[in-house]
């Protein structure tokens, strides 16, 4: 039994100022197994694994690797112990090739033996079924290729224990399958693999064992073969929750936004959207599906006035009881002044939607500070509004004066969505509104969107989880490489059909490519 243990973490505790991220956690990783580390956001999964990979140092507790007590003070220590972690955000040098990235930081001989690296990489790839071109530059790679490179990198450095932090968050279903196949090969080769995730079906599919964390506490572990999604959900959230998302029938549909021939090019002149046309109705939730980077961001930003569409594009906005107006050619200030009730929850929370160093009140007033003629900014009303959002959405914060960067991702998102909804918009656009959020918070957000729909707002929901899209949305626009590859009914369409549309344009448009 002991001999079969690769890693044993005993009574590990880690606190960040007042927050206990890991409380007295004991975890075992066996040789040749795939262990799922399951938990909601902020439950301490990544923190725990960061201590194993040398990013953090535990406040107390011991770590044993192969039965021997060790102290891991840096990622290098971890690698010396054959532990490697693949982080959610890749740590690669864009202008380097795959091979160069792999040997980066290794203190080898003065002369770079790139051919040797190529051979070794090829050997690793052949053994586990990776496909990688050692001479491809990172900036030319897709997300999936970058991830593959990260894995090959730690394998090249001799890792026997691999930790993957939410590896499937950025992958398409097909790519996920490939990754899982590789993981199985590595397991067969005797490697131990920890996969951090909160997607239950992946846990069921790939892992041998599941360890569950909740709010920094270790809840327990079960062999995957002896459990089911419902039991895992209960362990993860602490109480039984149904997995059903409500979808009320749309009522009183009115045309709200008519997008016609929308074409957007980026700074380099590359077409990000071409000839996109659809209509969003007040009283419905319109989903936007697609592999990330298919033009979702550009679409929402063009509507919000943050991107300049090309000639011939048209975005007609029809507010309730008001004249229709054209949004193309107007900047956000212009759109704001015209009183168009347009709310936008952008994908990049701190890069666009919020200011991390500012407190709750200042962030709430970000969208409304211009109101009134006084040169003095009114903070009284935003304060009331902030209080209400904190109360209604159960935001956990030490106070209204806390900089947002100190709050957890879920609370930050609640504030962002709460602010956008508080303005009573007639069009609400959300980009990956539940990305990185735990189940409870996600449901809070779905509920808020449904409320807006019931109030007659047009809701545009850009999502990545097809199950959610198909349960929440009335209609779904599927984007593929900047084009609309289909508009389907959310109630009657199967997941596979959407998946297919995401990866392939339908017949005639395909012929033009």
């Amino acid at each position: 039994m002991e001999a079969n243990l690769a890693v044993r973490m005993v009574n590990i505790t880690k606190t960040f100022s007042h927050v206990v991220a890991n409380n007295n956690i004991t975890l075992e990783i066996r040789r040749g197994e795939i262990l799922s580390l399951l938990g909601e956001n902020g439950s301490g999964k990544t923190t725990l694994m960061n201590m194993l990979s040398g990013i953090y140092f535990p406040d107390s507790g011991q770590i044993y690797v192969n039965g021997e007590e060790v102290s891991i003070a840096s990622p290098k220590d971890a690698l010396d112990l054959h532990i490697g972690m693949i982080h959610q955000h890749f740590k690669l040098v864009d202008v380097f090739t795959a091979a160069e990235n792999i040997i980066l930081g290794l203190n080898e001989k003065a002369v770079l033996d790139l051919n040797g690296v190529r051979r070794a990489v090829k050997e690793i790839c052949d053994r586990y079924g990776f496909v990688i071109d050692p001479d491809k530059k990172v900036y030319d790679m897709s997300v999936s290729e970058k991830q593959t490179l990260e894995i090959v990198k730690v394998l090249y450095r001799g890792a026997d224990i691999l930790i993957l932090d939410e590896p499937t968050a950025v992958l398409t279903p097909q790519e996920t399958e490939k990754l899982f196949a590789v993981m199985r090969n590595m397991k067969a080769d005797g490697k131990s693999i920890v996969i951090i995730t909160h997607k239950l079906h992946e846990v069921m599919e790939i892992s041998d064992r599941v360890a569950v964390l909740r709010k920094g506490e270790y809840i327990g572990e079960v062999p995957t073969s002896q459990t089911n999604p419902q039991q895992l959900t209960d362990m993860m959230v602490g109480k039984a929750t149904t997995l059903n998302i409500g979808r009320p029938e749309p009522n009183g549909l009115t045309e709200r936004l008519i997008v016609k021939n929308l074409t957007v090019k980026d700074a380099d002149g590359v077409k990000k959207l071409s000839n996109v046309s659809f209509t969003a109705y007040g009283g419905e939730i319109l989903g936007i599906a697609g592999i990330s980077g298919s033009g979702q961001r550009e679409l929402l930003e063009a509507i919000a006035g943050l991107q300049d569409p090309e000639e011939g594009s048209s975005i007609m906005f029809i507010p309730p009881d008001k004249e229709a107006s054209e949004l193309v050619g107007r900047d956000p200030e212009d759109i704001y002044k015209s009183g168009v009730g347009l709310a936008f929850v952008p994908e990049d929370r701190f890069g666009m939607g919020l200011v991390g160093s500012m407190d709750l009140v200042d962030n709430i007033m970000l969208r409304s500070y211009k109101s009134g003629k006084s040169p003095i900014a009114d903070r009284k009303h935003p304060r009331e509004r902030a209080n209400k959002i904190v109360e209604d959405l159960e935001v956990v914060t030490p106070g209204l004066g806390t900089p947002l960067r100190r709050l957890s991702g879920g609370n930050v998102q609640k504030i962002l969505v709460g602010r956008e909804i508080a303005a009573e918009p007639s069009l609400l656009m959300t980009a990956y509104a539940v990305r990185g959020l735990d189940i409870n918070t996600s449901y809070t957000i779905y509920h808020l969107l449904n409320e807006q729909k019931a109030k007659g707002a047009a809701v545009i929901y850009v999502g990545e989880d097809l199950d959610v899209l198909l349960e929440l949305c009335d209609r779904i626009v599927v984007l593929c490489a900047g084009r609309v590859s289909g508009i389907v009914n959310g109630r009657s369409t199967r997941k596979e059909e959407v998946g297919l549309l995401m990866t392939r344009l339908s017949g005639k448009e395909n012929a033009n490519e």
Binding site: L306, E333, G351, M352, K370, P375
Partner: protein, 369 residues
Amino acid sequence: MSKAKKHEPLVHITKRGTLPLWHNLAIRAIGLAAALVVCAIVLYALTGLNPLKIYGAMFKGAFGSARRVWTTIREIMMLLCIGVGLAPAFKMRFWNIGGEGQVLVGGVAAAACMIYLAPNMPLAPVLLIMFVLSALAGAIWGLIPAVFKARWNTNETLFTLMMNYIALQITSFCVSKWENPYGSNTVGIINPTTNAGWFPSIFGQQYMLNVIIVMLIAVAMYLYLKYSKQGFEIAVVGESTNTARYAAINVKRVIIRTVMISGAICGIAGFIAVAGAGHTISTSTAGGRGFTAIIVAWLSKFNSFIMLGVSSLLVFLQRGASEIASQFDLNDFVSEMIKGMILFFILGSEFFINFKVHFRTARKETENK
């Protein structure tokens, strides 16, 4: 290697949450005290002089007589005024290295008024015109790099720095044009007999008007940054232009407006330097304060009242240092060294405010027994 690994590292560092104010102040006080102690040791080791005597002399140099006190206050106000001027630009993350040039063009405008207008006009309107023209000159000096930044995203650090040299050349040109007496290549004291265009004494104090103008500007800047809508816009643009655009802020307009305000206040500092202090103009009228003020603004996190404290400390060090240099026959480097060490400790205390350092304890060994 594996043996060594069994030990915890000697120290490890974690980020702190928010500290209570007294704790915060205590850390800074300890930093300052540590700086004085270390300086004392170094001074004794290098010169063999009694460090307490040296500190005493520094204090006397800055505050030894009423005249010295007022000169110190005048210098503090100069530095504070420029610091307050730079604050909005830096808060917007616009690296205005051009304070020096903006002060100079403001000074040149003021000097021109003193030479051409003051002898023929009553004092009050002359001062008002000088105030406005200096501010305008500084604002234009800020406007030029701001427009280029807003429109073509040029690098403002280099641009404002280059503007300093242009201002310097303009000043040289004006000095040669106005030189008095002829051939001296200095302007000399302007209107030495009539005192036309000089700041009047208030309550018998020659530099009272300096204090009033600078403190008014400082308080106004505090309120502007903290409570006004424009101040909020500055903060948002400083954090992220993407967020600013999202929040329907016209980023170009905010950049241009803010840097003009910044330049205008620096221009006013030039006006004060000429009409309220030196009564002359030379290429050293700004005297490097445009750069020192950058430290003032950043150390204070753009808070006017903390800027007053930081300016006071820097001026005190500088005035005290020149005193000990002459009194103990030490050269200027000693004073520079003291200044450097004190700044080092003050900046170092920032680290201890943001981070907590844990030392390895004997806990584990006792546990294992």
